[in-house]
């Protein structure tokens, strides 16, 4: 069985507990002065990679866990957090604040990174909680021509480079089997991410972090999509109470629903 070289793409996003607010220009949500943290689905990806190593669940072992993030300089903090959780090293691709990449650009970047890093397994969050696109993993699989198992709730390794991935689907669970190299995207019930311990936080400061630009991968950020306007959802109208079933029926009739 091949030794695993895992690539874990991660993203710095507005913290999940923060209520996003639309900016004044209505071009996006306000990010300045807002608490950011790692995309929660990416925490699952790192946790899973580290567990594969710790539990020796892959017969060939894990040679390398590399995290990669494209974003502003602050993304380096997120990469350090990932290394504190157990990743070996990090690549930061500098992208200016506000020049967010579209899923296809990210997938192209990751394809180049996979080739350069000789990765044979990419574990990434099924989506990031900022734009909720849920596209990058699938596009990356398409570009590389690799098998993909999305929304994993369980990952198991078999003989001869086979990987079984359980995913939750409507009406039950589905188990896919594929061969390395492959793409796995993570879903909520895969694991419970750990908290970084203090000694590991300190060690993470000394782990290697490579700084790159899009140009290093022969890419530019092309925008194929244009955001026209971002607005708050309309405020919900208050409901009304009716006394009894008769009241309900007459109300529905009055509204023309019956």
């Amino acid at each position: 069985m091949s030794t695993l070289r895992i690539l874990v793409p991660i993203k710095r996003v507005i913290d999940y507990a923060v209520k996003p607010r639309v900016n004044k220009a209505q071009t996006g949500v306000e990010t300045a002065g807002v608490k950011h943290s790692m995309n929660p689905f990416d925490e699952l990806s790192i946790e899973e990679s580290v567990r594969i190593r710790e539990r020796k669940s892959a017969p060939g072992g894990v040679e390398d866990i590399c995290v990669i993030s494209a974003g502003p300089t602050k993304a380096q903090e997120t990469l350090r957090t990932a290394m504190a959780m157990g990743a070996d090293r990090a690549i930061h691709v500098e992208v200016k604040e506000g020049e967010d990449l579209e899923p296809l650009s990210v997938a192209k970047l990751l394809k180049a990174a996979v080739e350069q890093q000789k990765s044979n397994l990419v574990i990434l969050g099924k989506q990031s909680i900022d734009d909720d696109a849920n596209q990058t993993g699938q596009m990356l699989a398409g570009l590389l021509g690799w098998p993909q198992a999305t929304q994993a709730s369980k990952v198991e390794f078999g003989e001869g480079d086979t990987v079984s991935v359980t995913r939750e689907v409507d009406g039950g669970v589905e188990t896919l089997k594929a061969k390395l190299p492959m793409i796995i995207t993570t879903d909520l019930r895969l694991n419970t991410p750990r908290y970084a311990s203090l000694p590991n936080i300190m060690k993470a400061k000394k782990k290697p972090l490579e700084k790159k630009t899009l140009a290093d991968y022969g890419l530019t950020s092309e925008r194929r999509l244009k955001v026209l306007k971002v607005t708050e959802p309309a405020a919900r109208q208050g409901g009304g109470k009716v006394e009894d079933v008769d009241g309900l029926i007459s109300k529905l009739k009055e509204l023309g629903a019956l």
Partner: protein, 437 residues
């Protein structure tokens, strides 16, 4: 927005998975909250490491919500699992050497950790449950022999044994140099301890005590600061060991025990002595300034926690068809509490920086650390009192936590040194005024 739904789902699923963990989201307001968790405290000026510590510790503490502390306060139950969780992730070794399994950070970072703990809702109780493990080990780490360090420090960091600090005595109080507990040397080099200590936090759950005792009687020394020695001793609770302790019922921080400890001819081996015999006071001074910083941090955490709760309540509570926070009678005292906390914060982290610097004269460090402790304690007390008053009748209810914070806010005003003694110290050492006592 789909994102919001996913986030809610994510939290719910984590809740399901974490049922073994202490009630992470029991507090209803946390469960579905999507409000901003931006802290009130300004974070500018802190180092990256301090901010990392703050974030990481806050995350760990989020497993122990206010309800956890309410219950432990009410039942006077030790937060054993809280201590164990912090130990498991290496936090107790924050300011201990890397060679011994610590992380080799300074008191600046340790202060930030203690603040984050108190601020999480754990308050003084949470802070005190680990406090001595962080600062009382400082003199040990600095003056202990290699064997002493290797046999104790790793066990303290891992949480296998907990430590308490035995200095204060009922009959000497703040007059530490007159402490009467005697350790008399035996022909075989070991010691026998006789005397009484008081207000020893966590003695019931600790396996070790850092003990200050007199090895040469007061009459036989030139200066009262001589003849004291520091020991790191085991607490043997077996029947005829000569050690007894009694829990003191108290106003706040009831989750952690505070005790009267009695030694009656209690035997301790020769190798429990830290540093040289008779040098105990000098050695312990090293830990005391660190303790002042940590306590200042804890007070700040408590104050900011109280202020955050008061602010939230002032925003949500509607009387006369408007939020009470719209009334300047409510808003201004909160604004003032904020400014006091911010000022005390600057004094606190300034003191911690001086302590860590190492090249600053000890007298200057002492002045900065004492001033910080004083200012932070007063600012915290003001914030906690104001938080109770802002809540009106609800401030008196246990459910709203601020009464617990308020009870605990008396601790940093009293311990480890009273406000009055700090004022004496500044009057004498800085202003050069004659000593009154």
């Amino acid at each position: 927005m789909a994102g919001v739904l996913h986030r809610a789902a994510l939290r719910t699923s984590r809740l399901l998975q974490c049922s073994k963990r202490p009630s992470r989201y029991h507090n209803g307001s946390l469960f579905f909250s999507t409000s901003s968790r931006r802290p009130l405290m300004a974070l500018t000026g802190f180092t990256e490491t301090q901010l990392t510590v703050r974030d990481a510790v806050s995350q760990v503490c989020s497993q122990f919500p206010n309800t956890y502390w309410q219950e432990h306060d009410e039942n006077e139950r030790d937060p054993t699992d809280f201590h164990a969780t912090l130990a498991k992730d290496g936090w107790l070794g924050i300011a201990l050497p890397e060679a011994l399994g610590g992380s080799g950070l300074g008191i600046s970072e340790a202060t930030m950790m203690m603040q984050a703990i108190a601020e999480s809702g754990a308050g003084m109780a949470g802070a005190q449950s680990i406090h001595a493990n962080v600062y009382a080990t400082q003199p040990l780490a600095k003056f202990g022999t290699a064997e002493q360090l290797e046999s104790t420090i790793p066990n303290i960091i891992s949480g296998r044994c907990r430590v308490c600090f035995g200095v204060t005595e009922p009959n000497s109080g703040l007059d530490t140099l007159r402490l009467a507990t005697a350790a008399s040397k035996q022909p075989d080099g070991s010691y026998r301890v006789t005397g009484q200590k008081i207000w020893i936090t966590c003695a019931q759950v600790a396996a070790k005590m850092i003990l200050l005792a007199r090895t040469t009687p007061l009459e036989d020394v030139e200066k009262p600061s001589e003849g004291l020695s520091l020991f790191c001793i085991d607490l043997d609770r077996s029947k005829h060991s000569g050690l007894d302790m009694r829990r003191i019922k108290k106003m706040g921080g009831r989750a952690v025990d505070a005790n009267e400890v009695f030694f009656d001819n209690y035997a301790i081996p020769a190798d429990s002595l830290i540093g040289e015999e008779g040098q105990g006071f000098k050695i312990i001074l090293h830990g005391m300034n660190a303790e002042r910083c940590l306590l200042a941090g804890e007070a700040l955490g408590l104050g900011y926690a109280a202020l955050a709760r008061a602010t939230q309540y002032a925003q949500e509570r509607t009387v006369f068809q408007r939020p009470i926070g719209m009334n300047q009678g409510i808003a201004h005292p909160l604004a003032e509490a904020y400014m006091r906390l911010e000022a005390a914060k600057l004094a606190t982290y300034h003191a911690a920086r001086l302590y860590d610097d190492g090249s600053v004269p000890a007298a200057d460090v002492g002045v900065a650390c004492n001033s910080a402790k004083y200012l932070a304690a007063e600012a915290a007390f003001a914030a906690c009192e104001r938080a109770v008053l802002t809540h009106g009748g609800m401030g008196y209810a246990v459910e709203y936590d601020v009464e617990r914070y308020f009870r605990e806010s008396l601790v940093p005003r009293i311990a480890p040194i009273s406000r009055e003694m700090i004022l004496n110290y500044i009057s004498e050492k800085v202003l050069g005024l004659p000593r009154s006592y």
